[in-house]
Amino acid sequence: MADTADSSPISPDAEGSGRQNRLQRYRDLRFSEEELAVILLTPVVSFLCVVSFYPIFDTIMASLHSGYVLEMNPRQFVGLENYRSLLGDGPLLDRILNGGGFWNALRVSLIYTFVSVPIELVLGLGLALLLNREFKGKYFAQAAILFPWAIPTVINARIWAWMFNGQYGVVNDLLIRIGIFESAFPFLAKPDTALIAMLFITIWKTSSFMALILLAGLQSIPDHLYEAARMDGASRVRQFWDITLPLLKPTLLVALIFRTLPAFQAFGLPFGLTGGGPASATTTLVLFDHQLTFNRLNFGEGAATATIITLIAAAIAMIYVQTLYEPEVR
């Protein structure tokens, strides 16, 4: 550990204080609390500055330039030109509702996020309440129920693409056996059903993640609260509304933020399931950005899209923190 001391920005021994003093320090590694904090935090903060803040800054700059194809061409400052061609012109409302390209991707991402996340939250809470009870075989049930969370998103997409296959898919087979369908239906080949299938898959997968987080929250609610409520004659439903839900609020906030932002950045699922089709019906914002950047090599508009995604993500995070955060004295 002696080498961490070398990187300490705060131990500038004054020339006068002498070698002895410094040696003593290195030997004992006795820092003040603040010195130690700086030593421990410097690697993390500098790491994040290089890998997280600098790239965002660079992307914003790239969105204001053209010809930025990984240094092959010199960059040219074009102001907001990339944004203008990305967002098009015409009445704003019309573009929001019917526009293609960026606007279509924005609609897909918003629908994807704000349909799937609330359903996942409710289903996840149901699963968590179920798993919060003690029963025989709980260990295996819990492993099975939490399993979808662990499957890689893009591999999951491939699995479901096979299961939803229009000719040989097991989903079609089951629906026909139950009697809901008469013949096989090409779910992923029709715009509406492709989007619905994508929503179904993400809800299936992510409800287990929600359950994981909410289960942890449920287990940290002290039992004596429920005992007291039972003694007062409160029903189970009452207990849920008056104890579980309020005490689960911080966990719900974490789960919402943890899910909304990734859902808004969905990429692997449409990439592996449909490639964004048919007719861009499942092209999410990040997939759109990816295609813009890597297929059409339009780095300027790609960076502009990424900047807009960053702004929307920041807005979502701030709205959640504002509405759900209760100031606490820590």
């Binding site: 550990m1 790491f47 790239p55 660079d58 179920l130 029963f135 942890a216 932002l261």
Partner: protein
């Protein structure tokens, strides 16, 4: 008397009904949760000709391992898994190490600008990955980190650090002050306290952080797709996503590859799920 036994009967009947309903719903939910993987397994055992039939067959006739052989011949899936394992392990170790250091400072040391630093670290979790992709790609290229494990370990660690820091600072905050006081009294330095006393009792937080970070790194796709351009350096997620057969789409081979790739995850869930929940519970209290 008969009335009494009658109502007892009814109660007993209701009790049995409740049990059956409860276990029945648990069973159905568990089945729905594992069905896709089960289906991959079933598909992978079918004779190639029996995969593309409709109505589908639920129990493979003449089960075969031909699809597994085809998977190994068609692409270096073992190599992909090895790459994934190296990247995920490296990311987990680095994240735990840096996360514990920062988490300790943020929860147990007094210093100026603590809240801004915490918010700065957590705030990076909100930054979209796609907005960091191209600049990091340029950086990785100029530093020679493309097709290099570190090229993925470094960004993954940065992405998971906010989470790791959060886990550790929440966990450390709950430890009693007397732990440190005893250590300082015995003549340990503060760093000594961190490494000799705090870290050894933090195994649950380490396990939680390491497992979640590992699974994240194993599963990540966007950066793995972009930074590993050589086939031999691909991770398993990218390897499977990009796998194309020579002729028609090879569902049997894909199923075999998918099933092999999730075996580590199945073992992970069986052995470590309780650790994950416990660790998250400990941090939820903070």
């Amino acid at each position: 008397m008969s009335h009494d036994s009658n109502s007892l009967e009814i109660e007993r009947f209701q009790w049995v009904g409740k049990k059956v309903g409860f276990y029945g719903s648990i069973f159905i939910i568990a089945l729905v949760s594992v069905f896709p993987i089960l289906w991959m397994f079933i598909t992978s055992l079918k004779q190639p000709g029996n995969i593309v039939t409709f109505p589908v067959e639920y129990i493979p006739r003449d089960p075969t391992l031909a699809n597994y052989r085809a998977a190994f011949e068609g692409a270096p899936f073992f190599r992909y898994m090895l790459n994934s394992a190296i990247v995920a392990t490296g990311t987990a170790i680095l994240s735990v190490f840096l996360g514990a250091m920062a988490g300790y400072a943020l929860s147990r040391l007094r210093f100026r600008f603590k809240l801004p630093v915490l918010l700065l670290i957590l705030g990076t979790a909100m930054l979209p990955f796609i907005a960091r992709l191209i600049p990091l790609f340029s950086l990785a290229r100029s530093w020679g980190l493309l097709n290099n494990y570190l090229g993925l370990i470094i960004p993954y660690t940065a992405f998971q650090l906010p989470f790791a820091v959060w886990i550790f600072q929440a966990y450390f905050k709950e430890l009693p002050d007397s732990l440190e006081e005893a250590g300082l009294m015995d003549g340990l330095s503060r760093i000594g306290v961190l490494f000799r006393i705090i870290l050894p009792v933090s195994a649950p937080a380490m396990a939680t952080a390491a497992i979640i970070v590992f699974i994240y790194a194993w599963n990540e796709f966007l950066f793995a797709l972009t930074f590993m351009t050589e086939d031999s350096m691909r991770t398993i997620t990218v390897g499977i996503a990009l796998y194309q057969g020579e002729f028609q789409y090879p569902w049997g081979t894909i199923s075999a590859a998918v099933f092999m790739s999730v075996i580590p995850l199945i073992l992970f869930m069986l052995f470590f799920q309780r650790k994950v929940v416990e660790g998250l519970t400990a941090t939820g209290k903070a």
